[in-house]
């Protein structure tokens, strides 16, 4: 028989997270700091709308781009939070999570040979999605001395004649880094100079702890070259509902909607009804959860400071990214030993790109009690390692 598989698929490296997951699931009594989703339940009024939609028998397909009312509410949300206008009819597509938006945007815009700039450490799907389109991913390794922000110079150094797209993953998973107004202004010029398009993944946009998140699409001349990706998972604790959206110029959105139509048909109907309630009346929920994350963030930063572990202050998402280079181990060795010896699972930074080497991703989507216990174990592990080193 001949090989049934496509070479470009087989050649994609499996996610480093998957590998670590397999190790962790063997350890029954371990506590985890490894999740990339909120610990809150979806607020009740949102779940209630989902239940109500089911009771009323709203169980049919919606239009391909999503319920009109939902798209209108998304447009209103972007107007009130970012002061940016999108036409709900032609410039907004409701997707199956932010992940589908990323995939469809890349597929709509990349021809084989095009180059896609991907800053890392970052979420695991950009690179494989780019590869599947036949494009060539070009990795930009973000630097700790810049607090893992992206600089104009880094783009300049990576750009070639073939560069077409820049993926902008901020607020960032796994580092927690954000891009502030001045950071965005600094890269805007290079983007325009080289005529690049931006796929801006703003799924953590509501979770910032130093002023409000700013979308690059709000900068002069940028809306026409930006696909803004966002969704309901992180802001409203709705990961399992699988609902996101993409906004951008009409001509690009039309092609993205075409792919979405053939591949997906429409995002889940129940989730769309629940999401209308979320985006209409969920602002207080976001504020409540954000305040809670912020306290945990301060708690972790203080814990690392007390342990004398180097860790820059992240202002976004729900991750801290401490540096473990002093122990002379790879991230994976450190994470594996930490798991085996003190029974805590934290994801090695390398799961998010080579430039995550020497770092761990610690999620604070956990209760304070859990974090306190985990930090006790971290301190114990670190003390042991330092004693071994000095012996």
């Amino acid at each position: 028989m001949r090989d049934p598989l496509a070479k470009k698929v087989v050649d994609i490296k499996p996610s480093g997270i998957r590998k670590f997951f397999d190790i962790v699931s063997e350890m029954k009594d371990a506590i985890s700091l490894g999740v990339g989703e909120p610990d809150f339940d979806t607020p009740w009024h949102i779940r209630d709308e989902g239940i109500y939609a089911l009771e009323k028998g709203k169980t049919f397909y919606t239009s391909n781009a999503g319920l009109k009312e939902l798209r209108e509410e998304i447009a209103a949300y972007l107007k009130r939070t970012q002061d940016i206008m999108y036409d709900p009819v032609s410039e907004i597509l409701v997707t199956v999570g932010g992940s589908e938006g990323i995939d469809v945007a890349l597929r709509a815009m990349c021809d084989p040979g095009d180059e896609v700039l991907i800053p890392q450490p970052s979420y695991v799907s950009y690179e494989p999605c780019a590869v599947l389109t036949g494009a060539k991913p070009v990795i930009i390794n973000l630097k700790p001395e810049n607090e893992f922000r992206l600089t104009a110079q880094e783009i300049e150094e990576a750009v070639t004649e073939k560069t077409k797209i820049l993926v902008l993953p901020f607020p960032n998973n796994p580092t927690g880094a954000i891009m502030e107004q001045s950071d965005l202004e600094a890269i805007r010029e290079v983007i325009i100079k080289h005529d690049l398009y931006v796929i801006s993944d703003e799924i953590y946009g509501e979770l910032t702890y130093k002023g409000k998140h700013i979308s690059i699409a709000t900068l002069p001349g940028m809306q026409e070259r930006t696909i803004l990706i966002n969704g309901f998972s992180k802001a409203y604790a709705m990961t399992g509902w699988r609902l996101g959206y993409a906004c951008g110029p009409k001509n690009i959105l039309a092609q993205m909607t075409k792919i979405h139509q053939f591949a997906i048909m429409c995002a889940p109907t129940t989730s769309q009804y629940a999401a209308i309630e979320a985006v209409k009346n969920g602002d207080p929920d976001i504020a409540r959860m954000r305040d809670s994350y912020n306290m945990r963030r301060r708690f972790l930063l203080n814990a690392f400071k007390e342990m004398n572990i180097e860790c820059f202050e992240p202002f976004g998402a729900f991750y801290v990214f401490p540096c473990i280079k002093e122990f002379g181990m790879t991230s994976e060795e450190f994470a594996t030993r930490f798991l085996q010896e003190d029974k805590v699972a934290a994801v090695p930074g390398t799961a998010f790109g080579d430039s995550g080497e020497g770092y761990l991703r610690i999620s604070y989507a956990y209760s304070l009690e859990r974090l306190e216990e985990a930090m006790k174990r971290f301190a114990h592990f670190v003390e042991k390692l330092r004693a071994q080193k000095n012996a």
């Binding site: 997951f21 490894g34 999740v35 994801v347 799961a351």
Partner: protein, 162 residues
């Protein structure tokens, strides 16, 4: 959220939080947290530190009654005087002045139904300004002070996700 409000929200949920932890969570010095707590106590904004107990799990018998009380307000004193005469009884847990069909809501804790009914007939109804009462007994508490009783929530998320 403002620092003061944030502090109150934390303490309302967990009054056992020590000042060092509190300071870390709020991003202030421990001294600032101590001073703010003291000020809130002194001005009577923080009125006490209690423990949420689910008495259903303890064998001690306990009955809670909500009593609607209709009274005739007194010239010059309104409801305050009669409310005071009621809340001074130690078995009275809470007293609220209400808008609507009755005037005072009295929450009473007793050991037995008999004890509660004794209080209503002998003490409460005997007050001259009380014109009527309606007593309701609590059969089961599902949620109290924002806390769902009985169930401990488990973390059912996958252990590691991107």
């Amino acid at each position: 959220m403002e620092f003061r409000e944030e502090l109150l929200r934390i303490m309302e949920k967990n009054s056992r939080m020590n000042t060092k932890e509190l300071a870390v969570l709020l991003g202030v010095s421990e001294e600032a947290a101590i001073n703010e707590l003291k000020a809130l106590e002194d001005e009577g904004t923080i009125c006490g530190y209690h423990t949420m107990v689910n008495w259903d799990n303890v064998s001690t018998e306990k009955v809670t009654a909500l009593i609607e009380v209709k009274v005739t307000p007194q010239r010059g004193q309104g409801f305050d005087n009669i409310a005071e005469r009621i809340y001074n009884y130690p078995e009275v847990e809470s007293v609220y002045l209400m808008a609507g069909g009755y005037d005072l809501m009295v929450i009473l804790e007793g050991k037995t139904l008999k004890e509660v009914s004794g209080f209503v007939t002998e003490k409460l109804s005997a007050l001259e300004t009380v014109t009527g009462t309606a007593t309701h007994f609590i059969l089961k508490k599902y949620k109290d002070h924002g806390t769902i009783l009985g169930k401990k929530k488990e973390d059912t998320r996958e252990i590691v996700t991107p």
